[in-house]
Symmetry: C2
Subunit: 339 residues, 2 copies
Amino acid sequence: MRVTINDIAQKAQVSPSTVSRVIAGSPLISAATKEKVLKIMKEMNYHPNIIARSLVNRSPRIIGVVMPGMAEQSFQHPFFPELLAGIASLANKEGYKILLANVATLDEEEQMVKELTFGGITAGLILLTSRDQDPTVDQLVETGFPFVVIGRTENPYVNWVDNDNILIGYQLVEHFLDQGHRRIAFLGYSPGIMVTRDRLHGYKKALADHRIPFREELVVESEFISANGYDLMKRLLALDERPTAVIACDDLLAFGAIKAIQEAGLRVPADIAVAGINNVPLADYYNPPLTSVKINAFALGSKAFEMLQMVLASKVESYNRAIIPAELVVRSSSLARKE
Amino acid sequence: MRVTINDIAQKAQVSPSTVSRVIAGSPLISAATKEKVLKIMKEMNYHPNIIARSLVNRSPRIIGVVMPGMAEQSFQHPFFPELLAGIASLANKEGYKILLANVATLDEEEQMVKELTFGGITAGLILLTSRDQDPTVDQLVETGFPFVVIGRTENPYVNWVDNDNILIGYQLVEHFLDQGHRRIAFLGYSPGIMVTRDRLHGYKKALADHRIPFREELVVESEFISANGYDLMKRLLALDERPTAVIACDDLLAFGAIKAIQEAGLRVPADIAVAGINNVPLADYYNPPLTSVKINAFALGSKAFEMLQMVLASKVESYNRAIIPAELVVRSSSLARKE
DNA sequence: TATATCTTGATAAACGTTTGCATAAGGATG
DNA sequence: CATCCTTATGCAAACGTTTATCAAGATATA
């Protein structure tokens, strides 16, 4: 049998409301009573029933985190756990619990979001998305339910946190230009995925700023899956004029690409330089070590929670955006031989 | 304002209990009423309040998943998300929500588990652990709260799901023996971590079964962190009699080891063969591609949920164990040159 | 026609909290 | 000593469900 506030009250010879006030740290309670109640609470190993508490003050200290399914492959991604840890680090501190909505299909996602918003179980939502058009986001905007997006969508009525993907693309190009490259390819553009769009955008902008003509054939589309890096790179290798440098939208793609390059009898970076994005733990151990961009997933998560908290406190007047800086990590896969 | 069961009842000219019974699919309701109510529910976009429902029938359809913190590094691990997906796949189907308790320290873990068990918010817990002695597990056993462990601990009063780590160690040794190796090293044994203990156990058993003497110096201890593979391997390389094959307790360790081997001017697998465990996505793209053991994390997760459901239904008389089979994936890092 | 049976729906209590309002005790003030 | 604060506590309603018990109407049976 579960020990309730009434049991404590009875044992302490006070009313339940007094116990409740002790728990809440109300100043209206005498020191003596407070101490007595606290002691008994400890003795009886009492823990407040979160459910009951949530019911009465209609904002449960639970936030929902909605993750897209394996369909998007994102689940395999090492930064997901880090992101969760980032959210949790702050959430725990603030006494929020995290309800993880791990959905596989879009239908499931829609249903889940409905349950979470109308079901009264969560106070707010953090939504992970990489799609440029996200029906779930639109759905949430319509209901007015408090939420924050990690990633970015085209819907403007949204508070979001994201990496500066445009800058990431830009910086990688500049890095390669510094190394003397002029034919720089972009591997892994996926039209529906905002991240890749932004990165490509940065890539184009950097080229333009440095008066390098943009070449359609140097951009290779994909589905953001590792296995493709190998195949995609082969397309580039088949070009009349091969690129001398390759920016891959993800480290997994980069590894595949390097494999293809090496199999073709070429060397990285001597013949073709390569850089990835996300800085997976193995980038350092690859041969050659892979230049990448470190995404601060932890910060992404904690910032998202922070923003959601602002939203919950109605402290946001307009729509907020936060951009988490990323850091270029140069390793040998992108370095020119000394000239 | 939230639409409640009373709003529906009012609109439908019936009592709240009737609406409730419609939701529950009770057979005591006439088809006409049922249809009318359902229609109005849809019209008003009604979703039952999960909190209120949980309060009244004291078993909320929420299970807690407790994950060890970054301290154990486990978070970086690619199979964590897959595990979660495995849990969620079944949980969603059964109408259970997942509360993710993502704790950083042991104190936080203890506190969190207390809140989850006594706080009435979860019906049961799935606990991830790799420690042989886990205070949280002991704590849970004592309270009698329904829970299942993924991983294994020494506490016997526990339902758990795990890989057959002993077999994994055994098979890898046999694989290397098949390739003609006799001096096989074991990299990454960590005394407090059950997984590595079991794998080492399998390793020893295989050696014994094949009458190969066990050599203390071929077992290298570590902390289960990628960065160490490199350093640990150097210790092996410094031996008078170097091993000709290395089993690494984790792919990340294996990658570090390969790097050390190659830096020492030796070749993999020609001079030293290497195999890892966990089959991370990159194993295939490494140079050379890494032999590894595929852990079915998804199955691990879904099996754990299944078991928890049994526990919740009190369908377990004794303590259950489930072992998820793993699969050796042979790639070139472990293959002997043709003789 | 009176009674029993069955179908359908309503009433109210309960789950464990929080909190506005009321109240009692004690001290200060006039 | 009556009045008024202040401080500390209790009472009871409310949060949105579920469900046991009860009631009423309809139908069948004697």
